[in-house]
Amino acid sequence: MKNVIIGFLCVTILTGLMSCEKEKFNPSGAEDIVDLGGGTWAEGSIDKWISDSLTTPYNISAKYKWDAFEDIGDISYTIVPPKEEYIVPILSAIRKTWIAPYTTLGTPEFFNKISPKIIYMIGSPAYEQSGAIKLGVAEGGKKIILLAINYTKVKGMQGYNVADSFWIKQMFLTIQHEFGHILHQNILYPVDFKNLNPSLITSNWQDYTDEEALRDGFITAYSMNTVDDDFVEMISHLLVNGNEWFEQMLASIPEGVSDRGTTRDQAVTRLRTKKSIIVNYYKQAWNIDFAQLQTKVRMAVDGLLY
């Protein structure tokens, strides 16, 4: 009886297996998947400009059309896409003030290898609960998100006046800041930089004004956030605002001792040391003359603003 049952069982299993004729995998159906490989649209003159001026030469893509799945840190922000007439002037300004100086003083290979690959543009700023507004976000070394594009005018755009330069300057600073991070993430700055003012680094940097930060030897209050931010804030301000401005900042530090115990001389020395470490770093790590880079960025910035 047992054997009969087992025999019957075997036959059943065998039939079961045989009836499982496997279907061959047929990938042709995949062609029907909607938006596979990202959204598509008819290319326009803006797309062509981006392709010719950024993607082909520098391997950077610029996204300006709304993408619901892009993340700027918090999906609850109400933000809107940019105005089309702002795209090319702003990307062109970015090319002049950031890409051109770096690629002429460094090699294009160096730049193309480490530059962020995606610039995503948003029309409005992002309003924080606190009432503050967010103007830029960077995700690692791969993507830079630029906000408030619809406010960011450069010379030559309809209705531009010098008071508008606030927005575009902020944008230049954001880009140079983020690119500075990429540089030191590839080749770290000398340890000397970390030892300059470790006790003054604080995540409560918002509690200080830029003037207070300057008295402690920081170029901005945000510089106090981390040593990395100190390093790249110095880079971005030295490049975008230039040497003359830097000297003015040093001269503006008042006599006396700051709340956190820094004298005027200490603050000035600290800022000058930071600058000289950066100059050496650019030469040794990337073989770039920082003074020349500064001149080139400044000339480009001036040309776009005044």
């Binding site: 049952i5 019957f8 069982l9 059943t12 299993i13 039939t15 079961g16 297996l17 009836s19 499982c20 004729e21 279907e23 159906g29 029907d32 998947i33 909607v34 938006d35 959204g39 598509t40 649209w41 008819a42 326009g44 300006y64 059309k65 709304w66 993408d67 619901a68 922000y77 109400t78 933000i79 809107v80 896409p81 940019p82 105005k83 089309e84 029309g123 409005s124 700023p125 992002a126 309003y127 619809n150």
Partner: protein
């Protein structure tokens, strides 16, 4: 042991049972591959087909589409859109007189989000309502008018109409195919949203009366919130209120929901004509029925508790009401020129602002921009107000000035204070939780729209 015998018996039975189960499983698992699909095509093929159908419907309409957009934040807005099949759309909107006559091109695309969707993916008049900058659209900083620019296609869509629902805020949009005539008018720059405002502007009184079929109704039209409130007392003496949002069409203004005026269906107010002789606007309310609008000093229905409610709200909240423009007088916005004061931001009203010598006083205070900081610089102090039984607030006697009044502020300051001290006092009309209009009772020709700080 009796117990163990039972166990043996049970285990034998179990073994048999498990064999039966195996057979059952083996039979059941022998698979059948001829799946019966409910549809002939894969989900992706069907989705793609659906998106193509919507694309053809949108760009295939030879004269484009009229669109009514109702942001989740309230109100309604009229658009005209012309789609092509290369992701471009041209549009005008009734947002303001410029957007109504300036055809602007931007980008759109259809995409499969959780459902077939349309995304307006570069800035257009549609985005103006979503802009988080309150100065762009009169909405709240951070959220704007709580509108949308990514929409699902709704299932109930027909051939000549398309219904959309906003993905983020749930705003509603309705597209209706336009005629050749409409297309020419909208693209030709003849969409005049000022038609009705110009006519209404001839009426100097705040309160307006709509007369249809021999019956009169109080009419309140708020341009910023795009809201119309109609109130009246019926034959039984009951107070009735009808509220609708409105938008503009080529003919005039359209009510989102029609109003039943007796047996007349009022769908909007079209072709307004102002008569200086009778001081009335005559127009059409749909289906050939005429109606008139004229100014009145006191409406038939008054919210007599509104003044106290307005005042008490900010006592309870310890906050203030504000206006950017102060008094509108005899047809002139900001009649006293508050905006001309250097660094002026807003005029605020603080009930029970402070106490001086046992007197608790109210303050009409001036908020100024002092080196980037908003600060209360100076103001007029009044005694406690009185509230009349017929629904007026009368501000108390003038107690004095607080702070230093800059020279260029003296005229606006004095004129505003004098107006506030008018002995006949003010009616208050509540537009919504965040806005009250304060209208002078003497002739209804001066008013302030007070807003709640966000």
């Amino acid at each position: 042991m009796a117990c163990s015998i039972k166990n043996i018996y049970r285990s034998k039975f179990m073994k048999k049972l498990s064999v039966y189960f195996l057979v059952l499983i083996a039979v059941a698992s022998s698979c059948r591959k001829d799946d019966d699909h409910l549809f002939n095509e894969s989900p992706d093929q069907r989705l793609s087909k659906q998106l193509n159908a919507y694309q053809e419907q949108l760009s295939g309409a030879p004269y484009g589409w009229k669109m009514i957009l109702k942001p989740a934040g309230g109100g309604a807005y009229g658009f005209y859109l012309k789609f092509n099949d290369a992701n471009r759309v041209e549009m005008v909107s009734d947002f303001d007189s410029a957007s109504a006559v300036t055809l602007k091109e931007s980008s759109y695309r259809l995409k499969a989000l959780q459902q077939p969707s349309i995304i307006f993916d570069t800035y257009s008049y549609i985005h103006v309502l979503s802009d988080p900058d309150g100065t762009v659209n009169g909405g709240t900083d951070g959220v704007g008018k709580q509108s949308d620019f990514e929409f699902y296609f709704n299932d109930s869509t027909g051939i000549d109409t398309i219904k959309l629902t906003g993905r983020v805020n749930g705003s509603k949009a309705l597209l209706v195919k336009a005629t050749q005539q409409e297309a020419e008018a909208y693209s030709g720059g003849t969409f005049n949203v000022n038609l009705i405002y110009n006519a209404l502007g001839k009426i100097l009184q705040y309160f307006k009366q709509l007369t249809v079929g021999g019956e009169s109704y109080d009419l309140n039209l708020d341009p910023n919130t795009r809201t119309i409130i109609i109130t009246w007392v019926d034959d039984q003496g009951n107070v009735n209120t009808f509220t609708t949002s409105f938008y503009f069409s080529l003919a005039g203004i359209e009510f989102s929901d029609p109003f039943m005026a007796g047996s007349t269906i009022v769908t909007g107010f079209y072709n307004p004509v102002w008569s200086g002789v009778t001081q009335t606007i005559t127009g059409n309310v749909g289906d050939g029925n005429t109606a008139t609008i004229k100014g009145i000093i006191k409406p038939q229905v008054l919210d007599v508790d509104a003044p106290r409610r307005w005042w008490q709200t900010m006592v309870d909240e310890g906050s203030f009401w504000y206006t950017y423009t102060g008094f509108h007088v005899d047809g002139v916005d900001d009649a006293y020129g508050l905006q001309g004061i250097e660094n002026f931001v807003a005029l605020g009203f603080w009930p029970q602002f402070g106490t001086s010598g046992n007197i608790t006083y109210d303050l009409a205070g001036y908020l100024m921009n002092e080196n980037g900081q908003l600060s209360l610089s100076f103001g007029t102090a009044f005694d406690a107000p009185t509230f009349t039984a017929d629904g007026r607030i009368r501000f108390g006697t003038y107690l004095g000035d607080l702070g230093d009044i800059p020279d260029d502020a003296i005229d606006p300051y004095v004129n505003t204070a004098l107006k506030l001290m008018e002995t006949s006092g003010f009616y208050l009309v509540q537009i919504n939780d965040d806005q009250y209009d304060m209208v002078n009772a003497a002739n209804a020709r001066a008013w302030i729209s007070w807003r709640r700080p966000q």
